[in-house]
């Protein structure tokens, strides 16, 4: 129960910290949708380089001009190509990127249900041995050995 109390404490600790003040939530979202155009290694939100800084400033300006998220993303794609997006758009072939993982889970789950159904069918169920069929000698023998081996 002690651990449980600790968990609740941790929980309240993080809960009182409101997430991301100061920054416009849309700004933050966009910073993680656009890659840093210097090395394409990480989104601008996680990247410390001049190019990344510039993009952050640009995003702020564009948002101030009243552009929507989609418009801003379109602008970046027009300039740098699709590579600038931190994740592919869910359209055309790239839809596959989003469909396949959940599909794996569904197919795997169905297969497992089929498998479990087969191996747990009454015909496959193992027949239990009869308890009365062992001698006391046998019981005491293995009990003794188990004690000896400290199991």
């Amino acid at each position: 129960m002690k651990g449980f109390t600790a968990l609740v404490t941790i929980f309240s600790l993080v809960a009182v910290l409101p997430a991301q003040e100061a920054k416009n939530p849309l700004q933050r979202e966009l910073e993680y949708e656009i890659m840093a155009p210097c090395c394409y290694g990480s989104p601008v939100g996680d990247h410390e380089s001049e190019a990344a800084q510039q993009v952050k400033v640009q995003i702020a300006q564009l948002l101030a001009e009243g552009k929507t998220k989609e418009e801003i993303l379109d602008m970046y794609v027009a300039i740098y190509g699709e590579r600038i997006l931190a994740r592919p758009r869910a359209q055309g072939f790239n839809l596959m990127a989003y469909i396949v993982p959940p599909l794996l889970l569904v197919v795997g789950g169905l297969f497992l249900f089929y498998y479990l159904n087969r191996v747990t069918s009454p015909a496959a169920r193992p027949v239990s041995a009869n308890r009365e069929s062992y001698s006391d000698e046998f019981f005491s023998k293995i009990e003794k050995e188990m004690k000896e081996l400290d199991i």
Partner: protein, 656 residues
């Protein structure tokens, strides 16, 4: 000395070949003399590989600038402890390091099995010999670390030095540990292949490799966590995992390895899943080689990858060869897999393990899919795309949560069949724990639903583990009349895999709580002059000084930033911006102060010497500490499971 290194590498290659020659003979005719000769040749080959590695380390330590490798990855000024790191800084050295670790495993496994597993060992040695041979081949003919600088080269300075990013204490242990994990999976893989060839697919090979699976699994896990730690303290973006292809490559075998650790329990207990376990360990091994391929080939751009070379094709070839060989072997021995697969019920521990396996495998394939998708998409559509961390977070979070839930549910189910009464009794308190956290979270208005669900599930798992331990201790006190602590220790010793496993689960759930901290990160970019203050949350940061320090291989710009809370100064943060003179590279040194579970994290952009204006970024990262704590608990749990119990030791005495 250089000649010694170069020749011992070649002798290592030669003796590996000899060993395979003798080994191949034993395949055709079971002659024990050839087996012994093959074993000895392989051990000697390993000895030469280790000698070659020692020579390279010695050359790095004395900074012999005749050697091209030393010039490129070290320098006279590199601090001595980082001269060691030169061994894995470059392609040639890191391949040699790979072989050296395999060599250590080969020597160990042959020594420990000198009396045991006599039927499997000759074949194990053949498999390990083939792997060693491949790496030595690449090392000698394509990436030889003992290449001399072309005569007449005029050196500027005293070597290019170690990449500044690698000059961090964590980087001294992260690569060796990761490699120990990567390479170590070759051992259970080799045993699986041997058992397959010898038609000994009962649980014996699994039992003899139990420890040899736990050890690489532990090293790989620790290596991954240390990698995250290094990224957090050195790369300066305030995160620990960026779903970079190379990070993914190390995660993949860990995931399948974890699935394997669970599924072998069923084979040990029920003699089921023979085929599945063989396939899982094969996949795990193939993924380690595949990871090496991704890292070395430059096929996917990554910050970690070594310079792109034409080596890729060789590794790709080896991956294909391994896959074909594995599939072929399985088909050849197909008749061996007909085992009586019987389960009593859906609601059993067994089926819990099966679901765990399914989700782990789906997660592995999903991460693999995302990692390879840019290549696939470019091949199909011709346009370069990025599949970055936002994609992976979106895809893997739900699967991670399913696994977290299974981690809680599985241990509450009984083996064979769980009656409804038992389910009710076992699930009620963990369920209450989860609901309480869920309701508290929603009432407190936590913005992210994932965070609330994660914490609720973590609470479910935690209550389950605590209850189980409490019940166990109570039971032992009833049976044996022992005191609290004795009862706990005896209980753990009687069933080390079970309680080691629970401890690992505890570590994992603490890490999951740590992951949720990301949602509460606060950060701010700012410019400060000396004496200026800024406030972020409850903390007031004051820029006290800025100064420049000259050190052996770099020049550091440093600022001292005091942190105050409630008018009390609690810490001084000194982030640095360094310029390495040997390698001509800049680097940032993050300053971190952990205030309880909250990390105060400062990164210096730069400062202007004359105006005294400093550009910096401050982050407040809560709960990251829990990830490292969870890692430590995971290590403890694995050690509990690895160490032999009193009963194991007694049996050992009896058998020998």
């Amino acid at each position: 000395m250089i000649t010694l290194g170069a020749y011992s590498l070649q002798l290592g290659f030669l003796f590996a070949l000899v060993s395979l020659g003798f080994g191949g003979w034993t395949l055709a005719r079971d002659d024990g003399r050839f087996q012994v000769a093959a074993q000895r040749a392989l051990v000697i080959s390993s000895g030469f590989v280790l000698l070659a590695t020692a020579v390279l380390v010695q050359q790095l330590l004395i900074s012999n600038l005749d050697l091209e490798y030393v010039v490129r990855y070290s320098s006279v000024e590199t601090p001595t402890m980082y001269k060691f790191a030169g061994l894995w800084a470059g392609m040639e050295g890191s391949l040699l390091f790979w072989s050296a670790i395999l060599a250590i495993y080969i020597v160990l496994i042959n020594f420990l099995n000198r009396q045991r597993n006599q039927t499997l060992m000759p074949l194990v040695n053949i498999v390990l010999g083939i792997i060693l041979l491949f790496f030595l081949l690449v090392n000698i003919f394509f990436e030889n670390p003992f290449t001399l600088l072309p005569p007449g080269t005029i050196l500027q300075g005293s070597g290019m030095g170690l990449n500044p990013l690698l000059q961090h204490p964590v980087m001294l242990i992260h690569p060796p540990i990761l490699y120990l994990g990567y390479v170590g999976f070759a051992i259970p893989f080799a045993f699986a292949v041997a058992a397959l060839i010898r038609r000994r697919l009962d649980a014996t090979w699994i039992r003899s490799t139990r420890r040899w699976t736990l050890i690489p699994w532990l090293f790989l896990g620790v290596g991954i966590i240390l990698g995250g730690m290094w990224a957090y303290v050195e790369l300066g973006w305030g995160g620990y995992w960026s779903w970079d292809p190379v990070e993914n490559a190390s995660l993949l075998p860990w995931l399948t390895g974890t699935a394997y650790l669970h599924s072998v329990i069923i084979q040990e207990k029920k003699n089921m899943l023979r085929l599945w376990n063989v396939i899982l360990i094969m996949i795990t091994f193939i993924l380690t080689i595949f990871g090496t391929y991704i890292t070395r080939s430059g096929i996917i751009s990554s910050v970690h990858a070594f310079a792109a070379t034409d080596l890729g094709i060789w590794f790709f070839g080896f991956v294909v060869f391994t896959i074909v060989a594995c599939v072929g072997l399985i088909l050849l021995r197909w008749d061996e897999f007909a085992s009586p697969n019987r389960l009593e019920s859906f609601t059993s521990r067994e089926s819990g393990f099966l679901f765990n396996n399914m989700v782990f495998l789906a997660l592995t394939l999903a991460v693999l899919w995302g990692t390879m998708f840019p290549v696939l998409s470019e091949a199909v559509r011709g346009a370069k795309i990025t599949v970055g961390s936002p994609y992976f977070n979106r895809i893997t979070t739900p699967m991670g949560l399913i696994l977290l839930a299974l981690m809680g549910i599985g241990p509450l189910l009984a083996w064979r069949k769980t009656s409804n009464a038992t389910i009710k009794r076992n699930f009620i308190w963990p369920g209450v724990g989860a609901v309480v956290v869920l309701v508290t979270g929603l009432a407190m208005g936590v913005s992210s639903i994932y965070v609330v669900v994660t914490l609720a599930l973590a609470s479910f798992v935690l209550v389950g583990i605590v209850l189980e331990l409490a019940r166990g201790i109570a039971a032992r006190r009833r049976i044996a009349g022992e005191g609290m602590l004795t009862a706990l220790l005896n209980m753990v010793d009687k069933n080390r895999s079970r309680y080691g496993g629970y401890t690992v689960h505890l570590g994992i759930l603490i890490m999951f709580i740590g992951f949720t901290g990301k949602a509460f990160t606060v950060e701010q970019d700012m410019t400060l002059r000396e004496g200026e203050k800024t406030q972020l949350k409850d903390y007031v940061f004051t820029l006290q000084h800025h100064y420049i320090e000259k050190r052996p291989n770099h020049i550091a710009k440093v600022i001292d930033l005091t942190v105050a809370k409630d008018e009390h100064i609690i810490a001084t943060l000194s982030p640095e911006k360094r310029f390495y003179t040997d390698s001509d590279q800049p680097n940032t040194e993050v300053a971190i102060f952990s205030h309880g579970l909250i990390d105060l994290y400062a990164i210096l952009g730069d400062f202007d010497q004359e105006t005294g204006v400093a550009v910096l970024k401050i982050m407040i990262n809560p709960l990251v500490q829990l990830i490292w704590l969870g890692g430590i608990i995971m290590v403890l749990g694995t050690i509990i499971a690895i160490l032999p119990s009193r009963a194991d030791r007694k049996l050992q005495e009896k058998l020998t």
